[in-house]
């Protein structure tokens, strides 16, 4: 893509969204630089998942602008598909394709979207499976893997499209506690490799370790944006303090 570093990788300008009469996103603005690692947190129902899902147009915003790598998201389907090719997404519920093997899950998009030869796509898939430390499961079906393994496969599946940006929508919330670490380890490694990442998560240890920007959302608004040091040690907003007090207590 462009070498022009003048613009942000992701930029949200005064974004509003309603579900019916419910105002889920209220004037959300946010900028993520190339290689930026943003962690979004906030109470449930605060609009953080909706916000991240607007970035690859799984949800449609109704007001304001969203630009991804300089391209504005409009209802033009070609723009949407071009952006989706560059933006990987990892879901809370993994959403692997149960009728395909792990390897087929990974090669599907490179072959059908990027028109990569099958052999090459398989090599790429094995490379990423190796990277998420699960290459030995390539021939199995998703239903035969544990939750943590499935989520690592889902991460590898997104990486196979060589995205510029990775979105994580509560990637560890559906996992048993003992599996959370194996997924976070992979995400930490990914952050170190320079990937632009936006993560919605409650894993504050992970946030401290990798984030360069913390975003706190509540009731559809961005309440506070700050570097992690400042965010955890000296939060400005009362609502941020209350939230952190709740989730950091134990």
């Amino acid at each position: 893509m462009s070498d022009d570093d003048a613009h942000s990788m992701i930029e949200l300008r005064h974004v509003h969204k309603w579900f019916g009469t419910f105002h889920v996103l209220r004037d959300v603005s946010l900028a993520v630089e190339r290689g930026g690692r943003v962690v979004v947190c906030g109470p449930s129902g605060s609009g953080k998942s909706t916000m991240i899902r607007c970035i690859n147009r799984l949800e449609e915003h109704q007001q304001g602008q969203i630009l991804v790598d300089g391209i504005e998201l409009t209802s033009d389907i070609r723009n949407i598909e071009a952006i989706r090719r560059e933006v990987g997404m990892v879901f809370q519920q993994f959403n692997l394709f149960p009728h395909l093997t792990v390897l087929e899950n990974l090669t599907l998009a490179p072959v059908w979207v990027r028109h990569m030869p099958k052999r090459e796509a398989e090599e790429l898939a094995l490379f990423y499976l190796e990277r998420v430390r699960i290459a030995e499961q390539a021939r199995k079906y998703p239903g035969q893997l544990s939750g943590g393994q499935q989520q690592r496969v889902a991460i590898a599946r997104s990486l196979c499209m060589k995205p510029q940006i990775m979105l994580f929508d509560e990637p560890t919330s559906a996992l048993d506690p003992e599996m959370i670490k194996e997924v976070l380890d992979v995400m930490v490694e990914l952050a170190r490799s320079g990937m632009t990442m936006v993560c919605v998560t409650h894993e504050m240890g992970f946030a401290r370790e990798v984030a360069d920007q913390m975003v706190f959302m509540d009731r559809g608004e961005v309440v506070e944006t700050a570097p992690p040091q400042e965010f955890f040690n000296a939060p400005k907003s009362e609502r941020t303090r209350a939230f952190l007090g709740q989730i950091l207590r134990h």
Partner: protein
């Protein structure tokens, strides 16, 4: 199995509760009461060679001689007698296609090519007019080959239409959605017989003069269009059962609408609806017998015609039992095939 193992099996499966024991005894009594009489009639006192129905009835047994006498007519109808090797080959082609479909090692693509080539060969053989085969009018394509041509052609043609209708009914485009709903509701809401007559009578009015389409192909079209409406609803049920996350994951990977449907949604939706689809197919297969009402000679009409033979007027029980057995073989084959398919497609899922 040793005698004690057999006893244990009986106790575990047939006599494990007093209620089950009572049922077992009741059913055993019914079987003992009915079966000997049936066997005596169908086998012991039956005749394969009697000259007419009165002789059989005097002997108190089944008149299978009627079937033996009229077998070729029931199966091939009025197809020219000297040319009946052709529909025989057609039946063999169908048998080969059906049996090779059961073999899941064959790739789907080769199977599809096989079916298309097979059906072309079937039509060429039946119609003749080339390769030195005398031409045979499609009104004379009777009996079992007719049923199989109608069923295979109708089911094959209806399937793509059913998929499009099912996708259409869930389309984000309002016009497409409305047209799909309209088609499904109108076609489903009118009896099949009525569509048969309508296509028979109405179609010629819309065709340019001089162009006629044989009754057989009109019936085939009616059949395909009718089943499609039912099958579309079955497939739609499957589409609705696919979790939203599957659509979203496909979207997030940048697969467009058609690739998403073809690679992710339909394979799963079709797999989970196999039992319901086969239900529709078996029903549709048996509905082919309705074409006798517009004067196409399927095995049922063939049998009715054969029963006009003064020598066999009383052999209708034998005739209809034979037809029932014939249809059962195909119906059972379909359900057997669907179970195999379900098993092999559900691998890897828990």
């Amino acid at each position: 199995m040793t005698a004690t193992a057999a006893l244990q099996w009986l106790r575990a499966n047939l006599f494990n509760t007093w209620w089950n024991s009572a049922l077992t005894l009741l059913i055993a009594c019914l079987v003992l009461w009915l079966l000997p009489g049936f066997i005596e009639w169908a086998v012991v006192k039956a005749s394969l060679t009697a000259p007419d129905d009165r002789v059989c009835q005097a002997a108190g047994g089944a008149c299978w001689a009627f079937i033996a006498d009229w077998f070729r007519f029931i199966v091939f109808g009025r197809y020219p007698y000297a040319e009946q090797w052709r529909p025989t080959v057609v039946l063999l082609i169908f048998a080969a296609l059906l049996l090779s479909s059961v073999d899941r090692r064959l790739k789907g693509r080769w199977l599809a090519i096989g079916w298309v080539l097979g059906l072309v060969a079937v039509v060429v053989l039946m119609a003749g007019g080339i390769f030195g085969l005398p031409a045979v009018d499609s009104d004379l394509w009777n009996g079992l080959p007719l049923t199989l041509i109608l069923a295979a052609g109708g089911l094959g043609l209806s399937y793509p239409l059913a998929l499009l209708l099912a996708l259409g009914r869930r389309s984000p485009l309002p016009t497409v959605r409305m047209l799909s709903v309209l088609y499904i509701e109108v076609v489903r809401g009118v009896p099949f017989i009525a569509w048969l007559f309508l296509l028979l009578v109405l179609l010629p009015l819309f065709l340019p003069p001089g162009l006629t389409i044989a009754k057989l192909w009109r019936a085939e079209a009616a059949f395909a269009l009718f089943i499609a409406a039912y099958q579309a609803e079955v497939v739609r049920g499957g589409l609705q059962a696919i979790p939203r996350g599957q659509y979203e994951a496909a979207d997030a990977l940048g697969l467009g609408y058609w690739k998403k449907m073809r690679l992710i949604v339909l394979p799963q939706a079709l797999t989970i609806t196999i039992p319901a689809q086969v239900n529709t197919l078996i029903g549709a297969f048996k509905d082919t017998t309705l074409i006798s009402i517009i004067g196409l000679f399927d095995p049922v009409l063939d049998t009715n015609t054969a029963l006009n033979d003064p020598a066999w007027r009383l052999a209708y029980i034998e005739g209809y039992l034979f037809i029932a057995a014939l249809y059962f073989v195909f119906g059972y084959f379909m359900s057997f095939y669907s179970r195999r398919l379900e098993k092999s497609l559900s691998q890897g899922r828990r």
